[in-house]
Structure formats: structure tokens, C-alpha cells
Symmetry: C2
Subunit: 394 residues, 2 copies
């Protein structure tokens, strides 16, 4: 019989500005995760992934996986590896865990991730950001930190489709208001449209609440083979039905779309992910998309097929991403409110989706059966999608 | 029918001290790999892993996978990720590719790896080395660079088992003499026992030829699903039968063996790998073990089960790792002669094993059917094993 991978537990440390090391935060997250699944003993965990990008530079720790495995108290005998896909490292590691579990190479894998970005040397983070793009090509041509790049993207979308500053602001308002109730989020703050519109500029047209913050944090989930999962928990099983990660270009000169607001590579990833999970965009009951900037979520709801191209702003403004709308999105606060410790973000998303499909989310989407997480990484060079369901693919 | 993963092509750039960037070397290696399999079009490659540890610090490039994928001319739509397990990154990425292919998430994956370690700032390499161990625990206690650690290990093995300096030297003599014929190796130099014994000290008892060098280099292989592999090549198929990666500890204070020359974690990895591949140590016809230091290979032949504990030195001295011996080892020169660009080493080993099982190696082991690669990583905190065969596991 085919082996299937399920996500059965998850946990996080408090995200924000932390006086804690990366290893400390990973330990907190793993403890929170293990407390979510009382039947699981650390010795049963045979695989471990840790997703991080800046650990070498900002935490002075390369080869983080064994260091963190020991601090967490597990002794993996199938796999113990660090994964780095920048902002999509966590979701990528979940896909890798799926492969190992389904192939029979591992039975129970902890997938964790995190970053320590507030350091005494603040320039380390920006220095690392400059090393995260293609440093031979884009950096010398002036493309470095993300805000200017996504500001250009926002301008393009506004020009072509009439997207408004108010529509961008609605992304932040909706997501902040979810995050206000999330004790692990960086910000617990309700946001009004007026506050969002009156915020100071970052790079026009993007203002403060259009941009996710710099964040310390870690998160962890358990991916288990179906029969082991059934032994370990009475909660509804959440199957990892499918996924994909597309990387069609790296340097900005080879952008795969017609223009900066046309994310052809996300469409490729979405098509492949939907096919692997045997579902379509209309089947998605709840989603977590990569709202690193408000404009990102606007374009993502289009390219993921939740609305027509160009209509993302109106879709969000009309309440379709709120509970009761067509596809509730970022129901735990998203990157905008929770923050974005790169390697941890896809794992945070997976935790929220697991809880939604098990009926135990803070803002519960009633009867949710199929769900999706999405990450972009780099200067929009990769897209990673994972699709979850209450039923396995048949 | 179960999906199976095969390794069907491989290539390397010249290893050594290179006036080339990491991305340049990865491109050279990928070109060499693609030329090894004329039927394969870059557009057919749907997955890409890049294994590297020091790219962030020494090459100022984080999130290397999409940058290198683009330079290589491939557009992955299943996976595109960087893997870091230090010295075992390459072999770990091969295990991950196996999982993706067998689970149906990918069909044809390029697994590449490399490091650029000679930089204008030579201290960057040593600085990164210090960040590669557990920097909270081992570094402040004086355990930093590998040579002193492996010198202690050698002293322990000599004291307990009577291993001699001559036996250590034989490891280097055998491996250098294989490497002398390998145009991609860092050193093409035959070595006599007298030269090895007369070499200058590094950390006693280890001398120059007991230690692998600092190396620039990259390597790449193609892992393909069985039916696709059959369409692409008429060469014998080389199946990835199984493997494992054990990480039982991180800090030296929690060493899992009875003493430094007792590698209990390697035995755990070996047992699990053999079980997954349904073979035992006596079935291995040819192997590539991690000879970062001569003492490493001595202990590895013991813990992998090729000879009894304590007899590794005599096993190698008596010629059992040469062609015609019980288990020819490091038949392309190993780390000692080829060099050790961390993320690339497991991939170099896989290329040599593939060629051995296809009957096209430089120093051919006649009729080889089952083969093994082994890597250790960090200050001996992880062991990774991959087992290959002319037949799949049944």
C-alpha cells in the first residue's frame, strides 16, 4: 500500500524582537510542537530538517541541524539536514519530508526553521540580504533589498489594473486584525484603514503597514507516515496532498512574466501543485499566502486562481479573504502581522493550516477540507506551494 | 508499480586552487554532467539541489540554488533548494532526490554541490570553520578546526589498537596512487610510503599527507526515475538502493561512543543503511569512504563492517582497499587526493560509484554489483551513507 505523509503537530516560540539565540528559539518552538502531540516520544523522531538562511552570518552557526537536534533532544537516524531556500525554506523542507516519508526512508520527521535577525551588528542582516540576491548581476545593477523591488511591482500593478492604495491597505488591515488575537505574532494590534493609509512611507507607494517587519523566531511541525500518525493522535489527519516549487529564473533581467506584476512562475508552480494534489483553485477552503508586502498577496490571489488577473485588489477589498469570504487567507496574521523569520514562515503557515483542517484554529473556517500554503523567495525568483487535505490523494 | 531512483550521469570541474567563482565552477560541473548523458535536455530536469556550506560567507551568495539553476540553464518546477550538511551535503541531497523521485514529486533531478574556499580573505574559511561546530559549546572549549580533533582520534586508536604511523600512511599512499591518474583531482601525484612518512607534521601524529587539503570545486549528478532513466541511456542502470544519516549528538561532551575512536553513530547509520538496501557489509564490492584524514578511513572500514574493530590499519596496510583486495576504496583518489570542497564531495563519490557499477571506471573493480558511499560531517557529528546497486531492492 502506498505510504502517505500527514502533518500531526506544530508549535512556535513567540515571534518578534527576542533576546534569545537561534538555537534557544528553535528549542522553544520544538518544545511547543512536542507538547502539541503528547503521544510522541523524541526517540521516535527519525528525521530532522532545519530551515534557515542567515544562521551562518547572523548566528555564527553553520551546519545548524545537528546542533539544534541535540538541543531539542532528538537523535535522527534517517536524515538530519539544513535546508535553505530563503523565505521558502520551511515549506520546502515540508515537501522534502513528504518525499522521505512516502518513499519509506523516514517515518516521523520534525521540520523546524528559524532566524535570529536582530543582532548587535544590525548591518549583518542587510549585508546578508545583499548576498541573497544574485550578487554578480542584480546587486551591481542596484537591485538589493526587497522593498524597492516590491514597490516597483506595486506601481506596475496599479498602473495596469487600477489597483489602489486603499486596496493594498486592506491586505494589511485584514491580516493585522487576524494577528491581533495571535499571542505568538510579532504584533498584536488591530489596524484601521485610516491608520494604514496614514502610515509613513517606506518606498512609495509602499508604506509602513504594507511591509512585513524584521523578525526573530522559530517554528516546528511533525510530519508522520499515515499509520504512525493514526497511532499517535485522535485528531483528524491532515494529509500533505501535493506541492511544487518553481524556479524559472534568477536574475531580474530574465523575468519570466510579461511585466513585474505578471508572475508566470507562480502560475507554473500553482498548476503543478494543483495537479499533484488533484484539486483546483475552487477547491481551496483556506490559504496562507506570502504577504511579505501587501502587493504580494494581491498578485498571489490572482495567480493562484482565486480571482481573475488584475482583480486581486478588489477581491481583497470586498472581503473575500476574510472568514465567510471565498478564500479566507492568512487567518493567523500572515507575514505582515506575525513577522517573517525566513526559514520559519512556511512552517508557521503549515501549523495554521493544520489547525484549520482539524477544526481548532483561532479564526476557524467551518468545514475546511482542502487548504494551501504559498511562499515566494528571493527577489521573487522561486515559488513554493504545499496543498493539504482532510483526505489523501487517490 | 513502485517508483525507483537511479543515478544516470555525473560530471565535475577540475578541483584544486581555482581562479573561478562558485557559480562558474558549478556551471562547469553541470556542463560536464550533461555531456555525460547526451539524450537529456535541460528542460526535462524538473528538480535541482545545490549542496554548499560556505557560499554565504566565502562566496557572498545565499539562496544559491536558483542562481546556479539559471546559470546551468535549467528551470526546475518540482524543487529548487540548497542543502547544507557541511561535508555530507552532497550525499544528503542525493538521498533527498531519491525521496522526491520515489514519491512521484519529481522525475529527473540534478544534484550539484560545491565550494569556493580560496578567497582573497583566507581567514573567511577558518572563520566559517569555527562557525561549523557548535559555537556555544565546543568553540569556547577549544575545539575548533578539524586537524586537532582528528589527531586526538588517531592517538586514541593507536593507543588502544596498536595502529601505526605506517598504517595511516598507507591510506594516503593507496588513495594518492589512485588520484594520480584522475585529471579532475587536486593532486596528480604518486606517493611512496617513504614520502608519506617523511612529510612535515600538521598536528602530531598527523602529517601533511594524512590530511585532505583546502579545495575549490564542484560536481553534479542526475538522479532519474527508473523508466525515464531507461529511455535516456543504454548504460547499466545504477539504483539508489538505500541510505541513512545518523546524528546522535552535536557537542563533543555527548560523544556517542565509548571513546573517540569508537564511532557508535557510524554503526547506527551503517546498520540502518544496510537494512534499507537489504545488503550487508560483505556484499559491498567497492566503496568511497570519507578520508578527510587517514585515521578516518581506518575507523570507517571497521565501523562499516569491512573488517573487525581495531583492525582497520592492518586491513589497509595489507592491501585490502586496493583493486583485487576485499573492498577497493576511494578508487578515484578520495578526499586526500581529489580534495574536499565540502558540498561536492558526496557527489564526486557518487560519480565514481556510478562508473564502477557501469564498468567504466578508471580503476575498474571487475563485476562490481553493490557499492557504498560514506561521509562524515562536522566534528564527527553526523554520518551519511548511500548504497547503490545494479539491481533494485526487492
Amino acid at each position: 500500500m502506498a505510504r502517505r505523509a500527514c502533518i500531526i503537530a506544530g508549535g512556535m516560540c513567540k515571534w518578534g524582537v527576542r533576546e534569545a539565540s537561534l538555537v534557544d528559539m528553535a528549542q522553544e518552538a520544538a518544545k511547543d510542537c512536542l507538547e502539541d502531540i503528547p503521544g510522541l516520544k523524541p526517540k521516535d523522531i527519525d528525521g530532522f530538517f532545519f530551515a534557515t538562511s542567515y544562521a551562518g552570518r547572523c548566528s555564527f552557526q553553520v551546519n545548524t541541524a545537528p546542533v539544534i537536534a541535540e538541543r531539542v533532544g532528538i537523535k535522527p537516524t534517517s536524515i538530519c539536514a539544513r535546508v535553505d531556500v530563503l523565505c521558502a525554506g520551511g515549506s520546502t523542507a515540508i515537501l522534502l519530508a513528504k518525499g522521505l516519508v512516502e518513499s519509506g526512508m523516514a517515518d516521523i520527521v520534525m521540520v523546524a526553521g528559524g532566524e535570529k535577525l536582530y543582532t548587535p551588528q544590525k548591518w549583518e542582516v542587510f549585508y546578508s540580504e545583499l548576498a541573497s540576491i544574485d550578487h554578480d548581476w542584480d546587486a551591481p545593477n542596484g537591485l538589493g533589498l526587497p522593498p524597492p523591488f516590491f514597490a516597483l511591482t506595486a506601481k506596475e500593478h496599479m498602473k495596469r489594473y487600477g489597483t489602489t492604495k486603499e486596496q493594498l491597505a486592506w491586505v494589511s488591515v485584514v491580516n493585522y486584525n487576524y494577528g491581533a488575537e495571535n499571542p505568538k505574532a510579532q504584533f498584536q494590534k488591530k489596524l484601521t484603514l485610516e491608520e494604514a493609509l496614514g502610515a509613513p512611507p517606506v518606498v512609495p507607494p509602499l508604506t509602513l503597514y504594507d511591509c512585513c517587519p524584521i523578525t526573530d523566531g522559530a517554528a516546528a511541525v511533525i510530519v508522520a507516515e499515515e499509520s504512525r500518525a493514526k497511532d499517535l493522535t485522535d485528531r483528524p489527519l491532515v494529509y500533505i496532498r501535493g506541492g511544487a516549487q518553481a524556479s524559472l529564473h534568477s536574475v531580474s533581467a530574465n523575468w519570466p512574466g510579461e511585466h513585474l506584476a505578471d508572475w508566470a512562475h507562480l502560475r507554473v508552480a500553482a498548476k503543478r501543485a494543483y495537479e499533484s494534489a488533484k484539486v483546483g483553485p475552487d477547491d481551496i477552503d483556506v490559504a496562507q499566502t506570502h504577504d511579505c508586502f501587501s502587493i504580494s498577496e494581491v498578485i498571489e490571489v490572482e495567480e493562484l486562481g482565486f480571482c481573475k488577473k488584475g482583480e486581486g485588489g478588489a477581491f481583497i477589498e470586498s472581503g473575500q479573504t476574510k472568514i465567510g469570504g471565498k478564500v479566507p487567507i492568512n487567518t493567523d496574521g500572515g507575514l505582515l502581522s506575525c513577522g517573517h523569520p525566513f526559514g520559519a514562515t512556511g512552517i508557521r503557515q503549515a501549523i495554521e493550516i493544520m489547525k484549520q483542517l482539524q477544526g481548532r484554529a483561532r479564526f476557524q473556517v467551518e468545514g475546511a477540507e482542502i487548504a494551501l500554503t504559498h511562499n515566494l523567495s528571493g527577489l521573487n525568483v522561486e515559488h513554493t506551494i504545499v496543498i493539504y487535505g482532510r483526505e489523501p490523494v487517490k
